[in-house]
């Protein structure tokens, strides 16, 4: 059963189609990832789905409500973790939750009853009275996530939830998100951390230039687009080696600066050859989502 359905979404800014015909469906309880380089249209897509921006064309149904026409009713049952931190700096941790809960029409008593659970979830029970500027980046993100849960939403949108966090803080947030999916919440997240998408998402879509260019389960996407083994070769001689042996030993070769990426089904012959090349540094690893991403969206910078 779909909690979110969108078809043929188009949004133009000054004649440019920033979202150019996006269709997607997300099932209840799923963690759905929207991946793409900067400027791919991920954030605009989220804003369309939430009914904050009117599409130039296309249909959206969010939790059974047509969007944007009844977006406010849909948002009543949705939580949002925005990309940019917008907690209220004048308030304490607790007051942030209280004030935010009021926007959903909740009574103060109801919100106060929920606050201890939310603080425990965010690992902030000991910081209820703390003011926002005194929190670390990870604490702020966790509080923003707790704030998004104040209305007990069925569906949570997260726009690049771990950007700017250190590894400890990121892992802690991931644990929180897994707990939410295990409670049956639906998550829709945008990210450009492939590791994040691979770990958390049941299904994902890769966006580029306003379009969805690939969609599916992370493992299946990797299997579909990338050979099972990747050998990364570095060093001054890497380019020359690729010219001499690349076509012979790899199914596909990509060069990026002084690195060579060799994709293959069977690394045996390749690795035997590389053992005779002491000048080269070699990493042999399984294919991952980042390989899919780079194959589909290219290696050029997007800013």
């Amino acid at each position: 059963m779909s909690v979110l359905k969108a078809s043929g979404l188009i949004k133009r800014y000054g004649g440019v189609e920033v979202v150019a015909g996006v269709s997607l469906a997300v099932a209840r309880g799923e963690c759905f990832g929207l991946l793409g380089p900067n400027g791919a249209g991920k954030t605009t897509t989220l804003r369309l789905l939430l009914g904050l921006v009117e599409p130039d064309d296309g249909q959206i149904e969010l939790l059974g409500e047509p969007v944007p026409r009844r977006a406010r009713h849909a948002r009543q049952r949705v939580g949002v973790v925005p990309q940019v931190d917008n907690l209220d700096p004048d308030f304490t941790v607790e007051e942030n939750l209280l004030v935010y809960g009021r926007y959903f029409g909740l009574r103060d008593g109801e919100i106060r009853a929920r606050i201890p659970g939310l603080l425990a979830f965010a690992g902030l029970a000991h910081r209820a009275e703390a003011r926002i500027p005194t929190l670390s980046g990870g604490m702020k993100r966790r509080l923003t996530l707790a704030r998004a849960l104040v209305n007990d939403p069925e569906l949570i949108f997260l726009d690049e939830p771990t950007t700017g966090l250190d590894p400890q803080a990121r892992h802690l947030l991931w644990q929180g998100l897994r707990r939410l999916t295990s409670q049956g919440k639906t998550l829709i997240l945008t990210t450009h951390f492939m590791e994040e998408a691979e770990r958390l998402c049941d299904r994902l879509a890769i966006m580029d230039q306003g379009r969805i260019i690939a969609e599916g389960n992370p493992r299946a996407l990797i299997a579909e687009h990338i050979e099972p083994f990747v050998v990364e070769i570095y060093g001054e001689e890497a380019g020359r080696w690729a010219d001499a042996f690349g076509a012979l030993l790899c199914r596909r070769v990509e060069k990026a600066g002084e690195s060579v990426f060799c994709y293959t089904d069977d690394g045996e012959a390749l690795l035997n050859n590389l053992r005779t090349q002491p000048a080269l540094k070699v990493t042999h690893r399984p294919a991952n989502l980042e390989d899919v991403f780079l194959k589909l969206t290219g290696r050029e910078l997007r800013d």
Binding site: R72, N86, D90, F91, V99, R102, Y103
Partner: protein
């Protein structure tokens, strides 16, 4: 043009007002110093200091004359500062409005909350001056002076509505200086806060008639002096017009700024 469709108000604006009220309560002392004490000190300083050198103005001591103007002036200032600087912090710097828009509230609710909130703060500023008037017994009739309260509410809504337009088009805090230098300061000097408009050259008196502050003062001053204002309907309509057109335009411009 779709950004300028009529406002769709709802009671959802109340939590926005309450949010601002909670911040105000936490910062009440510095906020009151700026909003209340400053105009009060000017009024008392000029009223007593300058007033001692002056004959009666418009038939009353200068302090009384100035106090009536200060009610309107202080209300205007408070509404303007709130929608410009504080509103801009919430909209642009802290992204508070963005956070709210992810809830069931719409931008129309947010702007309505801000409008009513700024008018509430302005009411407090106007009431503070009115309280001084009562304490110093400057009013001719206490009962008539109570009518100043609705005038202050209307004046607050008028200037808060205008301020929302400036907020919507501002790229940064510095931009507001244009509004103060080109709109607010001339208005203070042309609308009869410090001296009767009749002292001005005819052309400037003409300009004054189109400015909302002079209509607010034309309502407040007679009420302090114990008379019913003349042309009440006209003054009220001008204040409503500036305020509601300001709110509509401010809302449209803010929709264009944030909902794209």
């Amino acid at each position: 043009m779709r950004y300028f469709t009529p406002p769709r108000p709802s009671l959802r604006f109340v939590p926005v007002w309450r949010r601002n009220f909670l911040v105000w309560r936490k910062l009440a002392i510095p906020s009151m110093l700026g909003n209340l004490a400053d105009p009060m000190l000017y009024m008392l300083g000029l009223g007593f200091g300058l007033g001692a050198l002056l004959p009666d103005v418009a038939g009353v001591p200068y302090l009384t004359f100035l106090a009536a103007g200060t009610v309107a002036y202080s209300t205007m200032n408070s509404a303007t500062f709130e929608t410009l600087y504080s509103g801009f912090s919430r909209m642009h710097v802290q992204k508070t409005w963005d956070a709210i828009l992810n809830t069931p509230l719409t931008l129309d609710d947010v702007l309505l909350g801000e409008w009513v909130w700024a008018a509430s703060k302005a009411l407090l500023s106007g009431l503070a001056i009115l309280a001084i008037i009562w304490v110093l017994d400057l009013e001719a009739s206490f009962w008539l002076s109570l009518w100043i309260i609705p005038v202050v509410i209307l004046t607050g809504l008028c200037f808060a509505g205008m301020g929302l337009v400036m907020n919507a088009v501002s790229p940064n805090y510095d931009f507001f200086l244009y509004y103060f230098t080109l709109v607010i300061t001339p208005m203070v000097l042309l609308c009869g806060v410090f001296y009767p408009v009749s002292q001005l050259p005819a052309a400037l008196q003409m300009v004054s008639r189109f400015l909302p502050l002079s209509h607010a003062i034309d309502l407040v001053r007679p009420l302090v002096l114990g008379r019913l204002p003349e042309d009440i309907l006209l003054h009220v309509l001008v204040l409503i017009a500036y305020g509601s057109v300001g709110f509509w335009l401010g809302l449209g411009l803010t929709r264009r700024r944030l909902l794209r």
